[in-house]
């Protein structure tokens, strides 16, 4: 049985005027233990909503979300989320930010700082322990957020476009770092991105979502060996194929919708 499983999940939001928008509908997602699953789709297709449902920050209107066989009811201590926006505590240093998780568990000072230093090192932040978030570059901030998430020792790591705001070089460096970390820890990772390249470089499997309402359009199993060569033929072919899929979604014709549903059916 899949580690993370969403079955026929639907979620609507009501705005101030009382109008309701269907963020996601009849969404089925499953993710195996230890898998790195990338989710890609146009802005507003419900990627963040999907992660927030799994994190237990919001509850679905209908359908079920289970992790490790148990229905998600509120926040689960072993799940954590790296946010799309900067979420570091600005009044804490890098070290204190990373030590936050252990601190909440009551780990005594010296020990939690030791743990924090380990993850700071792992995230490539050594030497920045005493810096405050406002003194860091965007890349450093996201490294800290990653280290902070890892220091709380999750088994499920949700990442919401964590490298979206970074320049390409930094992004590539952080992608390699993430793969390295995953190799060392027994982690299941759900990685939301709007970059096809990123999804193909990182993931074992890629889900392509469509919007209005959000649901899974197609899935790709990526069996390329790591480290992956972005210029290889298979990589570029897959890139093109996913891009076409996304362009169909953006064209947004009802007939595209129809086709996508068929494709989804044939794929699973």
């Amino acid at each position: 049985m899949a580690f993370v499983r969403l079955e026929q999940v639907a979620k609507s939001f009501r705005n101030e005027k009382g109008q309701s928008t269907e963020a996601i509908a009849s969404l089925d997602v499953s993710c195996e233990r230890g898998e790195l699953l990338a989710v890609i789709g146009p802005t507003g297709c419900g990627k963040t909503t999907l992660l927030r449902l799994i994190a237990g920050l919001i509850t679905p209107d209908s359908g079920t979300v289970t992790i490790d066989g148990e229905a998600v009811r509120g926040i689960r201590p072993e799940t954590t989320l790296v946010f799309q926006q900067y979420s570091l505590f600005p009044w804490r240093t890098v070290l204190e930010n990373v030590a936050f998780g252990p601190e909440m568990k009551g780990v005594p000072g010296s020990e939690r700082f030791r743990t924090a230093r380990e993850y700071i090192e792992l995230a490539g932040l050594a030497g920045f322990e005493r810096a405050f978030p406002h003194e860091l570059s965007g890349g450093m901030k996201q490294r800290t957020a990653l280290a902070r998430a890892l220091a709380s020792e999750p088994d499920l790591l949700l990442m919401d476009e964590p490298f979206g705001a970074l320049d390409e070089r930094t992004r590539h460096a952080l992608q390699d770092q993430l793969l390295l970390i995953r190799k060392r820890r027994n982690l299941t990772i759900l990685f939301v991105t709007h970059s096809i390249d990123e999804a193909l470089y990182l993931a074992d499997r890629v889900l392509v979502m469509r919007d209005r309402p959000g649901s899974v359009l197609r899935e790709y199993r990526i069996e390329l060996k790591r480290p992956r060569d972005r210029r290889s033929r298979v990589f570029t072919d897959l890139h093109l194929s996913i891009r076409d899929r996304l362009e169909d979604v953006l064209a947004g014709s009802s007939n595209g919708t129809q086709r996508s549903l068929q494709e989804q059916g044939s794929c699973t």
């Binding site: 920050l57 799940t79 989320l81 979420s87 009044w91 909440m104 978030p133 709380s152």
Partner: protein
């Protein structure tokens, strides 16, 4: 250096020149005293003024009243503000009363406070009726109006600080394992702290203004406000002006001190965008 300080000093120097010219022109120290006589009062902190004690003594009395009243205001304003900022029920209970009382200037309460509390001092509560300690100068009525002046800015800024805690910080805290108590102590409070300190600074400034007014009322026999009124009655303009300068200086110092403390704890706020 000169380039930096000259513009700042220009207007004060001009003011002093005007003052001295006016003083010499008027030729009446009971109307406009010479700068020298005011400066000489300020230069002798040990000098007894009008047989009421030194100005340091009066500053100590005013300062003690303000500090006690201010601490009471903070002790009430911060916890109530934290509660009202977090719990809708408390906010609903407190907001109407606060909005009703807040526009009422604390100085308007002085006669009321005098009528209710007479000239009772804090020492009277502890049964030390004829105590000669400085606490015998701390009248309950004055504490009441200082408390009143300090409470609202402290309370309202605390509420606002708590309410403007970023949702993403709350969620990050919860996802990293914070329970409700930890969330309050480790996320909400530090996040609201800069604004709580702003409230304290504004509150302290108001307390200092209120105490001077309160000390001008009958029944008071010490403090800078008392001394300024007494020197007016005796037409001692040099002491009166010296008092004004001291009131301004102490007020500036208080505000500056709290700002220094606030800057050290809020350094992250301006840079957070």
């Amino acid at each position: 250096m000169l380039k930096r300080f000259f513009p700042a000093l220009l207007l004060p120097l001009l003011l002093l020149v005007l003052w001295e010219t006016a003083a010499v022109g008027a030729g009446n120290p009971a109307l406009i005293p010479r700068i020298e006589s005011v400066a000489s009062i300020l230069a002798h902190p040990g000098g007894d003024l009008l047989r009421t004690g030194t100005y340091l003594h009066h500053i100590a009395v005013s300062g003690l009243r303000v500090i006690i009243g201010f601490m009471l205001a903070a002790a009430a304003g911060i916890p109530l503000g934290l509660l009202a900022g977090r719990k809708l029920l408390f906010s609903r209970m407190l907001t109407p009363l606060v909005e009703l009382l807040r526009p009422l200037c604390p100085i308007a309460w002085i006669p009321f406070a005098l009528a209710i509390f007479r000239t009772w001092a804090v020492t009277d509560i502890f049964g030390l009726r004829y105590s000669s300690s400085i606490f015998a100068q701390v009248q309950l009525g004055m504490l009441f109006v200082i408390f009143y002046g300090g409470f609202f800015p402290i309370f309202l800024n605390t509420v606002d600080g708590v309410r403007s805690v970023k949702n993403i910080h709350l969620e990050a805290g919860m996802l990293l394992g914070a329970d409700q108590r930890q969330l309050f102590r480790k996320v909400i409070f530090p996040s609201a702290l800069p604004q709580i300190l702003t409230g304290l600074r504004v509150g302290l400034g108001i307390c200092w203004m209120v105490i001077i007014a309160a000390e001008m009322m009958p029944g008071s026999d010490a403090g800078l406000g008392y001394l300024i009124m007494f020197s007016y009655e005796l037409a001692e303009m040099d002491i009166l002006i010296a008092c004004m300068i001291l009131i301004g200086l102490v007020g500036t110092l208080l505000s500056f001190g709290l700002k220094k403390i606030a800057d050290r704890t809020s350094f992250w706020q301006a840079k957070e965008a």
